[in-house]
């Protein structure tokens, strides 16, 4: 092909529109969304508190005290009071965030990886592959998620690891369905057909044209699952199927403190408040990100 071809100037486009790129406009939308920014900062604070727990906690979270049990807020430097064994609530909440966040994030990450992969394969593959994967997932889907989580960790025994495995199994089918739907939608778009017309193979098309367009919805869904993960994890611990005492964990704290609700109701409610604030913050953050990413330009 001769490389010297000059178009008449009348055929040359004079200028390109000056705009931000996709991520630029998503960032810009987020900047002007005070609610999302606020809850983003709350989530960041919770994460940082969990990471730097040993530095931030004013007391040893495991140090018990016979005389200082179930003391009210502000008692002897214990800002948030003490629990039924005299341990500092604030320190236990800060440390407990580590377990709760881990239980919320790790299963979602595993589910995203496993479910996402299965979903993309199911969505892009032929009808038989799709049927095999999606019907298997539907079996898991048929059980209510709490019941399934309780049943799985009940059968495998308690502990943080088993709890995470249980939650991963709960989240995987949902993740798979989201990825499958997104993939099937993208698969039928013209640019994928155009890529096939250039002679590209399946894997190349998956890598360059499908993944980039599927990751968005998958990540948005994953971020909304984190709050569910934290809630379910706390629920498992509350039922004694999650982490074991004396580990600091919000669900477990709620469970042990609940017997003391008539002695010091405010202190007993604190782990519940921590769960609530964290899960609401994650939820609103993921909501904000979703609406910011929903740019149809």
């Amino acid at each position: 092909m001769p490389n010297t071809m000059t178009l008449p100037t009348s055929m040359i486009e004079p200028a390109a529109p000056k705009q931000r790129g996709y991520w630029g406009s998503v960032g810009n939308r987020l900047r002007y969304d005070p609610v999302t920014v606020f809850f983003g900062l709350v989530v960041l604070a919770i994460i940082l508190a969990a990471v730097f727990a040993p530095l931030l906690a004013p007391f040893d979270p495991y140090k018990e005290s016979i005389i200082g049990r179930l003391k009210p807020l502000g008692w002897k430097g214990h800002w948030l009071g003490t629990d039924e064994l005299g341990r500092d609530i604030l320190s236990r909440l800060i440390h407990g965030g580590r377990v709760s966040l881990l239980m919320g994030v790790v299963p979602v990450a595993i589910a995203t990886l496993v479910g996402g992969t299965l979903g993309v394969v199911g969505g892009f593959g032929g009808r038989k592959v799709n049927t095999a994967i999606m019907r298997t997932m539907d079996v898991f889907y048929a059980f209510p998620s709490v019941l399934l989580a309780v049943a799985i960790s009940g059968a495998m025994g308690g502990g943080a690891t088993n709890g995470m495995i249980a939650l991963s199994m709960v989240f995987t089918p949902a993740m798979c369905r989201v990825a499958e739907t997104a993939t099937a939608q993208v698969k039928n778009l013209d640019f994928v057909e155009a890529a096939r017309a250039t002679g590209a193979g399946t894997l190349t098309i998956l890598r360059y044209h499908i993944l980039g367009n599927v990751l968005g919805p998958v990540f948005i869904y994953a971020s909304s699952l984190v709050s569910v993960g934290i809630l379910l994890a706390s629920g498992l611990s509350f039922l004694g199927l999650g982490v074991k005492p004396p580990t600091a964990d919000w669900g477990l704290m709620l469970s042990t403190l609940r017997q003391s609700i008539y002695v010091n109701p405010v202190v007993c409610a604190l782990p519940g408040a921590a769960i609530l604030i964290t899960s609401v913050s994650f939820n609103l953050l993921s909501d904000g990100i979703r609406s910011a990413m929903d740019v149809r330009m």
Binding site: M1, P2, N3, M5, L7, P8, M11, I12, E13, A15, A16, P17, Q19, G21, Y22, L189, D190, F191, E193, A194, A195, R196, A197, T198, G199, A200, G201, T204, Y208, H209, G212, N213, G216, V295, R296, M297
Partner: protein, 343 residues
């Protein structure tokens, strides 16, 4: 790009021969055995360096035909011969080799370009798939952008949503040209564009064709555009070819009543000579159960008994100048009262 023998068959060998192409789709939720006869025995030649226009209304199968030619949809029957080589046969060329030489430009739509990719990467994708390094593919993308009239530094890094419809269509054309095809299928490539932009893109397509010795298959519902850009025209109705011939012949002496009606349906562009009576009435029938015999007979002003009984055949073409139509009136002794006479 590995140059594939530029002109294997010589100038007289048609670049693409389609023989009896067929595609029937199952009707979802329809009666068992109900099929849409989207493309039902279509045969034609595309000669080297020409533009073959394909016209027809929605549902006539022209878009399905485009996809069959690239095997984006597997044909149920028929064969393709590209420059003398049968496609998909042992002694011929593979589908992938065909796709290296025939490219397609889709109608500009929100989905014609990957929204998460800068357009230069969309263009570089083709050469990359065909074995170029990323750097080489990037350089090709820059070159092609210049060829379609877009400054590479200005437009290359942009995302599709940042471009106008005309600019996106130039990108689509650039993407098709990036792997240096010999033939480009343009499926309603200018239909979604505004008139002023459509004119720009048509000019560009003409310039590109001249510069790179391209062969076009130009699919459109717009007769005026097809008349302007095509050398020969193929008219489709309900999955079958009803008329094929040089553009002047089709537009000045149409042989098939459907072509006549299509031509007469174009707005007059003159308020003093408005069309007072519709050239034909009714809508095109559903391709699920096309009428028996001649498919056009239900709307044809000249329909007679013979039209319901036997399906008219298109007749054989000899060369680029053949003008043929699938109509009983064109066949002597067909039984139609208006059939031409041979003397």
């Amino acid at each position: 790009m590995a140059m594939i023998d530029p002109d294997r068959g010589g100038p007289a060998q048609p670049l693409l021969i389609a023989r009896d192409l067929r595609k029937h789709f199952k009707v979802k939720g329809g009666a068992p055995g109900a099929v849409v006869r989207a493309v039902d025995g279509v045969s034609f030649n595309v000669f080297k360096g020409e533009t073959l226009g394909v016209v027809g209304e929605s549902g006539c199968g022209k878009s399905t035909l485009a996809r069959l030619l690239l095997h984006l949809i597997e044909p149920d029957g028929g064969e393709l011969v590209f420059d003398g080589d049968p496609v998909g046969e042992i002694r011929g060329i593979s589908v992938n080799a065909l796709r290296r030489q025939v490219q397609m430009v889709f109608q500009d739509s929100s989905s014609s370009l990957n929204p998460r990719m800068p357009v230069r990467d969309s263009i570089a994708f083709g050469p990359y798939v065909h074995g170029k390094t990323k750097a080489e593919a990037g350089r090709i993308a820059r070159d092609v952008l210049v060829k379609v009239g877009l400054k590479p530094d200005l437009f290359g890094p942009r995302y599709p949503h940042e471009l106008s419809g005309g600019q996106k269509q130039r990108i689509n054309i650039a993407r098709a040209l990036a792997i240096e095809p010999r033939m480009v299928i343009l499926d309603e490539a200018v239909s979604a564009l505004d008139k002023s932009v459509e004119a720009q893109v048509l000019n560009l397509l003409r310039a590109l064709k001249e510069n790179f010795n391209l062969t076009y298959l130009f699919i459109s519902h717009d007769l005026s555009v097809v008349r302007y850009i095509s050398d020969r025209v193929l008219v489709m109705y309900l999955g079958a070819v009803v008329e094929l011939g040089p553009v002047q012949d089709i537009f000045s002496r149409p042989k098939h009543p459907y072509t006549t009606a299509l031509l007469a349906s174009r707005p007059s562009m003159d308020p003093a000579r408005r069309i007072e009576e519709p050239p034909i009435t009714g809508d095109p029938p559903s391709p699920i159960n096309p009428p028996s015999g001649c498919r056009f007979r239900t709307r044809c002003p000249h329909a007679e008994a013979v039209c319901a009984q036997t399906q008219p055949v298109l007749g054989a073409w000899n060369d680029q100048d053949s003008h043929i139509a699938a109509c009983h009136m064109q066949v002597p002794e067909s039984g139609h009262s208006l059939a031409i006479r041979t003397h």
